[in-house]
């Protein structure tokens, strides 16, 4: 529980903000935006574990999201199971998929891994579209029951989802500051060195992959119950790249970075929608241009991402202050000595 001391301040600010957000913006619309941000955040925190910690790339994260969403949706609409059972299944099945895929591609690195996850993403999206008797094909599923938590309002859904985000966040931060986290950082720096220190690199990578798949699945299940309708369209490469952008902009190596990136990208999305209402020329895929530009500029000028950059700047200024204080003190000592 050491992280409580280290992360106490940021965690307190986070919790406060999450709790009061629905009341700063007491509009149903902003609450729904908050819900979507929360759902994305669960996925990106998982992706951050894979990319930042295990140093792997996944271009198929939206596929796990989709598997989760369809698992819960199909179980509740076709078989009449309660949403809670559906949600549990929507964590297990994507985790299983991630386990099998991760086992299979454990030996792959770099471009091969990118390609394999990308291909997996395509296969899942095509599979969902083609398996019409179960998934409803391109038409999708309708009337998925909502999760019955303290009422049926936007507000209760908001707190439910951010509750899950908080659990996911705590789990990941804890992981990061434990033995497992240190092992991951060692793998990220040098796999060979990590292996020679007795770290089972394959196992750790696989674990990160499975955890990220489960996170994405949970988020997908919640998404299905929140939206009430599903079609295969949002579970493709476009969404996977959007998740990637969120993680990269915030900083791959930082869990907080994933959260900040998610908020940032969603805010930009919303801002662009508002702008397009004012300026008629901006409709269509303008957000694609912005996200592409963000990815390119971030890798060119700030490859470590926003949060680590800010933290470095903060630590630098703190160190400077400490140094200045020290210098002042020693000066005073010298003066005192001179006086005596």
């Amino acid at each position: 529980m050491q992280w409580i001391n280290k992360w106490g301040k940021s965690f307190g600010i986070y919790l406060l903000f999450v709790l009061i957000f629905p009341f700063i913006m007491p509009d149903e619309y902003y609450r729904s935006v908050g819900i979507i941000i929360g759902l994305h955040a669960i996925v990106t925190i998982g992706l951050c574990l894979v990319m930042g910690l295990a140093g792997q790339i996944s271009l198929g994260q939206a596929a796990f999201w989709g598997i989760g969403a369809y698992t819960s949706a199909v179980l509740t609409t076709k078989y009449g199971l309660p949403p809670l059972v559906g949600l549990i299944a929507s964590a297990i099945l994507p985790g299983l998929f991630a386990f099998i895929l991760g086992r299979a591609i454990a030996g792959l690195q770099g471009y091969y891994l990118a390609m394999a996850t990308l291909a997996f993403g395509y296969i899942v999206q095509i599979g969902i579209t083609e398996w019409e008797p179960v998934t409803g094909g391109a038409n999708g599923l309708i009337s998925i029951p909502s999760v019955p938590v303290f009422g049926d309002s936007e507000l209760s859904m908001y707190y439910l989802i951010w509750g899950v985000v908080t659990c996911v966040l705590l789990f990941s931060l804890n992981l990061l500051h434990s033995r497992v986290g240190r092992a991951f950082r060692a793998i990220h720096k040098s796999e060979i060195a990590a292996t020679s220190m007795g770290i089972d690199v394959r196992k750790f990578k696989l674990n990160a992959f499975v955890i990220s798949g489960m996170f994405a699945g949970i988020s997908g299940g919640l998404y299905a119950h929140y939206m009430g309708i599903l079609d295969p369209q949002p579970f493709g490469l476009h969404e996977s790249i959007k998740f990637l952008t969120m993680v990269v902009i915030g900083g791959m190596t930082s869990i907080w970075g994933a959260l900040v990136g998610t908020v940032l990208i969603n805010s930009i999305s919303e801002g662009l929608i508002m702008l397009s209402e004012v300026i008629p020329g901006l409709q269509g895929d303008f957000d694609t241009i912005v996200f592409g530009a963000i990815l390119v500029l971030i890798i060119m000028f700030m490859p470590e991402g926003i949060v680590p950059r800010i933290r470095a700047a903060y630590e630098k200024s703190a160190a400077k202050k400490a140094k200045a204080n020290q210098a002042q003190q020693s000066e005073q000592v010298v003066e005192r000595k001179a006086a005596t």
């Binding site: 394999a116 095509i126 490859p303």
Partner: protein, 292 residues
């Protein structure tokens, strides 16, 4: 039997396009160790620019030529101002970077030309030719001809000219190449120019057969990349053969199993090969291991 031949013929045509994309990937990868995931966008830009230029009443040939020049230039600029800037980045960053470039190009294309699909008129007439009961569109023959000419020219350039030797030298040992007075930066730029030009030509010749729109680059690029990996990264001949195989397998799968599963079949083949023999069917040439 006729049915089978028809599927194989169709597969050869799409395989040819994948071959051009795959060779484009390898040309860039062998020199600069970058997998340019924006490769598919070169094809899209080639097709869309030609359509746009013809719309401005420029004759077909001139429009195609201008489009090829423009895409070549885009490739060079991309290398000079973006890729060269992050030379020291790790593979994950490079993957993200080229994905970003591809997303950016796609977004700009949909912004300028909209989301509609366009078709170019075929080079010669629309009448299909019938050979032993197999119907072949005349444009398909043009596509295969263009593919073969491009592959032959590339082979000649790489194996028979001093310029090709210079490019090869940079891919084998950039440091030694530099000591011999070859500039790896210039060769890298040249590689981007070559794959830009070949990509644009491929994009133009397929536009009459399958319509072109802002988003065709994604799948073509990924299929080409699959072929490059299947054939063994850094092995142009292997990649070209693998591309034709991929095209045929895909076409057979679409014909005999389900047309909706066509793309899934290609990717399943890819994952299977990655699992069984990650270095590709024909072996990877020793130019770095998957970007590491």
């Amino acid at each position: 039997m006729t049915e089978l031949l028809q599927y194989v013929a169709n597969g050869l045509v799409s395989g040819g396009i994948y071959a051009i994309v795959a060779v484009g990937f390898i040309t860039i990868y062998s020199v600069s160790k970058v997998i340019n995931l924006a490769q598919g966008e070169f094809l899209m830009l080639g097709g869309m620019m030609t359509v746009a230029l013809i719309g401005m009443n420029i004759p077909y040939g001139a429009a195609a030529l201008l489009a090829v020049i423009a895409v070549t230039l885009i490739g060079v600029l991309m290398q000079k101002y973006v890729i060269a800037y992050v030379k020291k980045a790790n593979p994950i960053s490079l993957i993200i970077l080229t994905i970003g470039i591809s997303t950016l190009i796609r977004g700009v294309a949909s912004f300028i030309w909209g989301k509609d699909a366009f078709a170019l008129p075929p080079i010669t007439s629309n009448e299909p030719i019938s050979v032993a009961g197999v119907n072949i569109a005349q444009q398909s023959i043009w596509i295969l001809l263009a593919v073969l000419i491009i592959l032959l020219l590339l082979w000649f350039l790489m194996d028979k000219t001093i310029l090709g030797k210079k490019i090869n030298a940079c891919s084998i040992n950039p440091m030694a190449a530099r000591l011999m007075g070859i500039s790896p930066a210039k060769m890298s730029m040249l590689a981007f120019a070559i794959s830009g030009a070949t990509g644009a030509i491929a994009g133009i010749v397929i536009a009459p057969l399958s319509v072109t729109s802002y988003d065709i680059g994604v799948l073509l690029g990924i299929k080409g990349f699959s072929a490059a990996i299947l054939g063994g990264l850094g092995n142009p001949l292997g990649a070209a053969v693998a591309a034709f195989l991929l095209g045929i397998v895909e076409s057979l799968g679409a014909g005999y199993i389900s047309s909706g599963m066509k793309d899934a079949i290609a990717f399943l083949v890819l994952i299977a090969v990655l699992l069984i023999k990650p270095s590709g069917i024909f072996g990877e040439r020793s130019v770095g291991k998957g970007g590491l």
